[in-house]
Symmetry: C2
Subunit: 538 residues, 2 copies
């Protein structure tokens, strides 16, 4: 991520990219942001060039109150985005100034406040238990109060599309109460997520014509159309679009920021982010998935690792010649890349292409290509997957070509003991016995768990001969149980890093410890190759 | 799934739901169907009432050739769907009758053939290396030959939308060659997936007006709009829609069958599946994910386990009173259900609601509610997640309420040894020491891996006193590594079944073996509760 301040968005205030990951996104099952997480998410969204970052609901959620307090105290320096506090209008039968929830919005010191207002008469009557007139008074009063206190105010018209279909006059009167009292944008929310694009476009067009107000859009993904609905609303005249990173949100989720922005910029030619920001999307998406602690969606539009991955062996050569014939855009423009997948469906051509991509070049080694194709087929039938483990594939290719140094040691045996003792203590201990250049090395180490102990013991045995190991970290460890026929096997992916590069290796076995061992050995063998190459280069 | 033949679709041949999971869906990174898998997928799609099941490309893919051969030999009895073979038009400069690839389509004995034809002039010239006239001749000749042999033929016009934008006359001439020679449907394919709904609707409307042909639609999800694009095409006049189960497909995937059908039936009122089929969608989606060996997308529209899950503690009571105010439809209509999530964001109200849902009812036990709320908060901060582990949550509730039998044994200690011996043999062996009603029980067992050995040893110790254990199977085991601050913990989810029910339990620890142990103990404790309840009921 660039450390210099991003340029202003070309469209300026004429178009708002409004992110609600920290409020509506956090409603997703499985997300639980800490305050530090929230600060980090806001920084990444700001660096991407998003115009508005909704930080949460101060007063309603203790974490959110703390987030705004720490942001106001200087922990969050936004260079591009405006910070937004979300909240409700005052309660029925009181005044905005006297409502502690409204007061908490002021106390948050956020320069922008988004108020949620009910615009479906049935919700007003059945959930709020008041009437349409008092509902409008609540909106008008709260907006006027906050505007009077110097805040910019947007109003989210909750369940607008259902409300408009059921009783359009009541729904429009809520928008009038908001904008008439000083709100800058009336945001039409498909809160239930039940709309389709043509219907959204029709209503937005009609409401824009009837009111002349600046309109925003907020879509949920219950019909699988949140992205399309958001874009259709913009095409129909909305100039403020609310999204969440990776579409996080309650139920089926919200409109995905990256797909919406990708579509607006690349398909509709609207420069809604600062110049250069689009190329940061893939990295930002993956970083935000990391913070949310949710595995990235590999098939996500624009930013997924598979978004530009081609499998068909039949087309591999055609894609190589003319990539623009097979991709809807240049993946580099969104910080992504095209990938050719090596799978059992692929043949020699794909392996050769992939070897070029990895810098091994098997073009002059037909026997090595045959051997790699055969090994990949055989292993994939057992549950291996090289699609996500380029380092293991490269080792396979180098071994087939006869490169030196692909096996830095030979294993004699290992043993791992994991126990919960009678006193409640839980311990893991591993012993490995290996041969390096004919020398027999033995090491025993403890660890947090069996794989950690095994990693420690292997490093212990190798350390004297491999000083570069100190720079190599195991950064991620993923386990997947696969059912193959009547039995199950475990597939382990290990991500490693040595400060200048990252690589992924794979191991598969019926026993999780052996599967981990295989991935671990590849990880260290790859590190050894890198260390050799650096020595040679040096 | 019902065993009686499904009723015909109310719309009959007037609308085609066409599934290409087995051909285009199999292009998804990570999918590798066996022939047995393909037969199973076809049966499930047929049982759901899909009109057309595209089985693959006979002649091009050996597995697909075998699939059609076994289907023709009687292994696949379809009660509703027609089986479709996919293939290409004849090569340039030959005849359809002489082309072995076309011959393979006939040999597949599938009653319907879908031919892919290039409709973008740039692809014709650069990938096919022929001219527009020969391309049309290839289409016309191949369609006429197959129709002459008694096949029903559909034509997929590849890259149609790009081609139509670049050179509409060439694109339309391909459709004319297809329909003029006897093809029943001209399918407009957004092969690159770069379109948006309003653009799709415009082109479909225009092409329908200019040709009068029966049109189909095939969308890819590269803009995140495949579902919306498919629905927009239907609204613009397409009467044949190609989808894949769960949106599986190359790159970002295809249009998701379940979301498209859900939208057509519930939003547009088009009965495109037989009566009653919609309620089978959720189960079918999950079963097909299982066969593809891909974790179901929990946030998938209509069928995801979170699609109707509400987290906000603030709204829990309102949702209980008026669920139709907060869901876009009744989840039961698609075989799904509403869920209230118990998370650290939720308070006493959500725990009480959830206890009702689980049949524990803590309404009269305020201290138990406090204890559950406190335990859930504390454990979720450590990485536990009860959202997907109702059985562990129920045990927590029952323990808090003081129910008997929630802890069927006490652990003294366990020990697991995993080793790769010098002879290459890999073994796992576990010993557990437990106390049941004061009696000390010890058992040692071997297993495929450490967790399997531990499960076997625990069952060995419990077997004499728990004969019902024979009916309890561990059906799935999932591992997730979570980063919490500076360290990592492992979360294990175990799914179990006893022939009449399935349940999920959770365990979290820095050591994967201990995390597995915790989930395993809950799984067996829950089984013990069920066994007790059955004895009592009997």
């Amino acid at each position: 991520m660039s450390r210099t301040a991003p340029a202003a968005t070309p469209l300026g205030d004429a178009f708002h990219v409004y992110d609600t990951t920290l409020r509506d996104g956090a409603q997703r099952e499985g997300i639980s942001y800490s305050v530090a997480d929230k600060l980090a998410v806001a920084r990444h969204l700001d660096a991407l060039g998003v115009g508005y970052v909704e930080g949460g609901w101060p007063g309603a959620m203790p974490k959110d109150t703390e987030f705004f307090a720490r942001a106001a105290a200087g922990e969050l320096e936004l260079r591009h985005a405006a910070l937004v506090a979300f909240g409700a209008t005052r309660r029925p039968g009181t005044t905005a100034a006297a409502d502690p929830q409204v007061r908490a919005l002021l106390d948050s010191r956020a320069p922008v406040v988004t108020l949620v207002a009910k615009s479906d008469r049935r919700h007003v009557e059945r959930a709020l238990r008041t009437d349409a007139a008092e509902n409008c008074a609540m909106v008008a009063d709260t907006v006027a109060f906050l505007v009077g206190e110097g805040r910019r105010v947007f109003v989210d018209a909750e369940h607008f599309f259902d409300g408009y279909a059921f009783d359009p006059d009541t729904a429009l009167r809520v928008l009038e109460a908001a904008v008439g009292s000083g709100a800058d944008v009336a945001v039409l929310c498909d809160t239930n997520g039940g709309m389709l694009p043509l219907g959204i476009a029709e209503v937005v067009t009609e409401v824009a014509a009837r009111t002349g107000f600046r309109l925003g859009i907020h879509c949920q993904d219950d019909t699988g159309c949140a992205v399309a609905n958001s874009v259709a609303a913009v095409q129909a005249g909305a100039t403020h679009v609310q999204c969440t990173a990776n579409g996080y949100g309650e139920r089926a989720g919200n409109a995905d920021l990256f797909a919406v922005v990708g579509n607006l910029v690349t398909k509709l030619g609207m420069p809604v982010l600062p110049d250069g920001a689009l190329a940061e999307m893939t990295r930002t998406s993956h970083t935000l998935a990391e913070i949310a602690n949710i595995a990235p969606d590999t098939h996500q539009a624009y930013v997924g690792t598979s978004a530009f991955a081609h499998k068909a062996g039949l087309h591999a050569s055609a894609i190589k010649v003319d990539p623009e014939l097979y991709n809807h855009m240049n993946p580099v423009d969104v910080g992504n890349g095209q990938r050719i997948l090596v799978t059992e469906m692929a043949g020699r051509a794909s392996v050769e292409l992939k070897s070029e991509e990895l810098g091994v070049d098997l073009a002059g080694h037909p026997d090595a290509v045959s051997q790699v194709v055969a090994t990949v087929k055989e292993r994939e039938a057992l549950g291996w997957s090289f699609e996500a483990a380029d380092a293991s594939l490269e080792l396979l290719m180098r071994t087939a070509r006869g490169d030196a140094g692909t096996a830095p040691f030979a294993l004699e045996s290992y043993r791992v003991i994991t126990e919960r003792r009678a006193d409640g203590e839980i311990v893991a201990e591993a012993t490995v016995k290996i041969l390096v250049d004919g020398e027999r090395l033995i090491a025993t180490r403890e660890g947090n768990g069996p794989v950690n102990a095994l990693d420690a013991a292997l490093r212990g045995a190798l350390a004297p001969s491999c000083p570069w190991l100190a720079d190599v970290d195991l950064t991620d460890y993923k386990v997947r149980i696969l059912t193959r026929g009547t039995g199950a096997v475990t597939r382990v992916l290990i991500e490693s890093s040595d400060r200048t590069a990252e690589w992924t290796t794979v191991g598969v076995h019926g026993n999780v410890v052996e599967a981990s061992w295989l991935a671990l050995v590849d990880a260290l063998a790859y590190a050894a190759l890198r260390a050799r190459a650096q020595v040679t280069a040096g």
